[in-house]
Symmetry: C3
Subunit: 156 residues, 3 copies
């Protein structure tokens, strides 16, 4: 059994798809997989838009997407139309959307670690995130510890 760590920094639909395709492939083959969600990557786990402390934090929380279907594409986003067209194309070709990949990662026991500093910055609490069986909050030292013991470590 090998270990694999991914840092999901990006909040793009397509980049997150790549991350979870790799994560699920490895987890399905019996590897121990950990995904660290930091910065824009945290958007993927948000349940809904909430307010923050003051105008500034509230503005950031309003702007940042909530959950997989709210994420933009890194290219050809077309003001939000891109991701839904891509999703339609994926379904027609019997592929897995980001929503499917995320649910599968939960089933396959992929560990989700959410960056404490990103939560603090955005005034998010773990309660505002989607409940996954293996989700916990961690810091950079958790990441380094896990990453050092991983056969593969990618920044996405």
């Amino acid at each position: 059994m090998d270990a694999l760590s991914l840092i999901l920094f990006s909040g793009d639909y397509d980049r997150a798809m790549a991350a979870f395709t790799i994560a699920n492939g490895a987890a399905g083959a019996g590897d121990k997989v950990t995904v660290f969600f930091t910065f824009w990557g945290v958007s993927l786990l948000r349940k809904r838009k909430t307010t923050g402390k003051g105008i500034l934090q509230t503005a950031f929380k309003r702007l940042m997407p909530c959950g997989p279907t709210d994420l933009p594409l890194s290219r050809f986003n077309f003001a939000g139309l891109g991701p839904s067209l891509l999703r339609r194309l994926i379904r027609r070709e019997k592929g897995q959307t980001l929503e499917d990949l995320l649910a599968l990662a939960g089933e396959r026991g992929v560990e989700f670690v959410v960056c404490q500093a990103s939560l603090t910055l955005l005034g998010l609490t773990p309660e505002e995130l989607v409940a996954f069986p293996h989700l916990r909050v961690g810091d950079v030292h958790d990441f380094l510890q896990t990453a050092k013991n991983s056969a593969i470590c990618l920044f996405i």
Copy 2:
């Protein structure tokens, strides 16, 4: 002899330049180098714009660039003017353009593996890609196998 794996997810001219500068440096020093082309990265290998199944796939295939000289810059793209200015600057400074780097990678025996899922999604066949001596189609398990045995593995 060490092994090195790169995932080229990005379809940006500048990011692909970084990928192939690293790939060629390692291959030139005798390392075994594998580049996995996924998602927008596949653009780099396309020969020409073709149609797909239905309006949706055709639209994606029309939008996605074809080959190195058609790729945008991740920044200062200026509606496509950026890459040609960068190329001119590279040539004047006796550097290597992405086209040069790609050709050199072929000569140095860099292995090109194209993601099967990306081809399916876009309705692309291997015949629609530029013929490189060491190009083959692979899936996430091919990637994981190669990456685990690599001294360096980068997501670009």
Copy 3:
């Protein structure tokens, strides 16, 4: 003592923050950390805007940002307003801005290696970069050598 290498290709404020958060975390725990600055990542180290050889190089040098406070956000940049709002939010939450992180990296002995090819392309000299105690110029072979001996290697 482990070694950790980061390639900072990106010139985005937020991505550079992620890079130096990881770098400082590892350096603070006693690891040997090397950050390679290439392409847009070199912006972070520039002191001021200077002219280049001819109109083309001068244009690139004028466009490329200078130093941490001049960097854009990868998302929600709002024509340059985004980074200053983020900085304000970071300060209010007692976090570290990119400027703080960069200074700390210098104090913690993080090695800065600047890509020779990027300097040549932009007609930059080492004198035009901020003086850090552990800054030197290197090429792709320096990177490969260091990266192969690193427990973690990330492309950011």
